[in-house]
């Protein structure tokens, strides 16, 4: 066999292995989707039924009455949108200052922020909880929202690195022209870093949308719970009745928003993750 033929054979084998792997990766999620449109008795059928004879979309109607799904979505949207919008603003302004403005102790303060990433959430969650409970904020969305408004260190770090590659000359020229510092950020820097900001914002949004630990600590009553807690409760309640189509339909609803965002922005997201990871 010639060299190019051998490469062809190898590539075909690798393609097949990757395809099998991809099927294994996606199968559980497809199973989830298929279960959500099945009759209850089909769920337990042996051999498993992947494509039901009749698609039952009834569960997608039922879930809205079975639990506080709608308020769960609303709460998740409130938390995720308010945090990412305000937090992205504070983060990008701070990143601009750290990258482009001169002031004493700048690098020390930046290092302090970076160092704070070493402190994991579980080590501060107990005093944070007590703090918010003293304020009477437990069982409201505020403990999930307020800390995020002050910015996100990962995002600041990423945007600062990105801004370092923007030439100082542009900024200096605008400074001489007497442009205000906020305008330097809003009309010169921000447009330049928009793609990086967008990718970071989406990643952050997904993180908040999917968060479970903080919500489970703070939220008790069904009407304040975020979507992830609502579906976890669906699982606890309806598993006893083995109503898996219902549970799976609710879980699909929880997955859908981020899945759609991901599929639209997958190129930017994947690039952003690859860059931040490799440069570590």
């Amino acid at each position: 066999m010639s060299h190019s033929q051998r490469t062809k054979v190898t590539n075909t084998i690798i393609f097949i292995v990757l395809a099998i792997g991809a099927i294994v990766m996606i199968a559980p999620l497809l199973w989830m989707l298929s279960t959500s449109v099945k009759e209850k008795q089909d769920v337990f059928a042996l051999p498993p039924v992947w494509i039901p004879e009749v698609f039952q979309f009834g569960k997608y109607k039922e879930i809205w009455e079975a639990g506080p799904l709608l308020s769960g979505i609303k709460n998740s949207v409130i938390v995720a949108v308010s945090v990412t919008v305000v937090g992205t603003f504070t983060s990008s302004v701070a990143a601009f200052a750290f990258a482009k403005l001169r002031f004493p102790h700048k690098n020390k303060l930046f290092l302090a922020l970076i160092a704070s990433m070493m402190i994991p959430y579980p080590t501060v969650m107990i005093p944070q909880f007590m703090m918010f409970s003293k304020l009477g904020w437990v069982d409201t969305l505020l403990p999930l929202i307020v800390p995020g408004l002050f910015g996100n260190v990962v995002m600041i770090f990423f945007l600062r690195q990105y801004l370092l590659s923007v030439p100082d000359a542009i900024i200096e020229a605008a400074k001489i022209d007497g442009s205000s510092y906020f305008r330097l950020y809003s009309s010169i820097t921000f447009p330049l870093i928009k793609p990086a900001v967008a990718a970071q914002l989406i990643l952050w949004f997904m993180g908040i949308w999917n968060d479970y630990l903080a919500p489970i600590i703070y939220l008790n009553s069904p009407e304040t719970q975020t979507l992830q807690l609502v579906i976890a409760n669906f699982n606890a309640t309806y598993a006893i009745q083995t109503d898996y189509p219902l549970i799976m339909a609710a879980s699909i609803i929880a997955l859908l928003p981020v899945l759609i965002i991901f599929l639209i922005f997958q190129k930017q997201i994947i690039e952003s993750v690859a860059i931040s990871g490799v440069k570590g």
């Binding site: 107990i126 703090m131 002050f150 510092y181 579906i231 990871g277």
Partner: protein, 296 residues
């Protein structure tokens, strides 16, 4: 007239103004709670009454607490998924780095579990591991194997969780490896080929050293992430599993702090977790200093 020093003073003020929110956030939501947690770990804090200073009693109690050892052991055991995930991901990335059709589609498919909500996929796996009609056992049945009731058996609950975490994180690891592989210059391989190097030799002498920084980064971040595992067990084994064999350290902290209101005791555990993560991160920083930061 705008003088230079005048301009600089203004720049200073705006600089501080712009970084004020994250610095305040750091003080209020990280530093202050951290110091408080440290203090709390030396008290009998129950979240309601007085905090009495009791010295090292919490830490002494921890060393005789069977459940503490168990949840520590469980957490470390679950990290066996890290090397498994790294090897699988590197193999996948090597495959995806070749000129084959559909690489973008593969990347997207492998990445979908990563962005999926952990709560939702935990629910799904919870059911997939069901002993009677779960997807996993139905699959095994095709080969005539009668699978166990995965989450109800103390011998299988941890492997089951490992399988799930590998599945969840594979796409992320693969992506970082792929990015690293794509930054390796082709000319190295061409030169090695001319010298008659075998495929394995090329992997050992070119690929492996080139992806080493990424491997190291992944090992460290996976250990940090793995030591904080919580959602999976909270949903799949709400009571900590058979004989508490799937409870992680964060699960035990959460249990003690918010269910038993032993805030002081839980803080002591949180401190031990914090120290562990601090050491792992410190090693990373030291190693990063050694490996050359080329310019950026």
């Amino acid at each position: 007239m705008i003088t230079k020093s005048n301009l600089y003073r203004k720049e200073k003020i705006y600089g501080y103004l712009f970084i004020l929110p994250p610095i305040l956030g750091l003080l209020i939501f990280t530093l202050f709670p951290f110091v408080y947690s440290l203090y709390g770990s030396f008290t009998d804090w129950d979240g309601l009454g007085q905090m009495n200073f009791i010295g090292f009693d919490n830490f002494r109690d921890l060393f005789t607490d069977e459940l503490f050892y168990k949840s520590m052991y469980n957490t470390l055991f679950l990290m066996l998924g890290i090397p498994i995930g790294l090897v699988l991901a590197l193999l996948l990335a090597l495959g995806l780095n070749r000129k084959i059709p559909g690489t973008t589609t593969f990347r997207v498919i492998y990445y979908i579990p990563v962005i999926s909500s952990l709560a939702a996929v935990s629910i799904m796996w919870n059911w997939a591991y069901n002993g009677d009609y779960g997807l996993v056992n139905q699959f095994l049945e095709l080969f005539g194997i009668k699978g166990p009731n995965w989450l109800m058996d103390k011998d299988t609950v941890k492997p089951a969780l490992i399988l799930m975490t590998v599945w969840k994180g594979l796409g992320y690891t693969m992506l970082l490896y792929l990015a690293a592989l794509q930054s390796v210059s082709r000319s190295y391989y061409e030169a090695a080929e001319l010298d008659g190097a075998s495929g394995f030799q090329m992997f050992r002498n070119i690929t492996w050293p080139m992806v080493k920084p990424v491997t190291f980064f992944l090992v460290v971040t996976n250990i940090i992430g793995g030591s904080q595992i919580f959602t999976e067990m909270n949903i799949m084994t709400p009571t900590g599993g058979p004989e508490y064999s799937s409870a992680s350290i964060v699960f035990y902290i959460w249990d003690k702090a918010f269910k038993n209101l032993q805030m002081g005791y839980a803080s002591a555990m949180a401190m031990i977790l914090g120290i562990f993560i601090f050491i792992v991160t410190l090693i990373q920083f030291k190693m990063n200093e050694k490996s050359s930061f080329d310019g950026d």
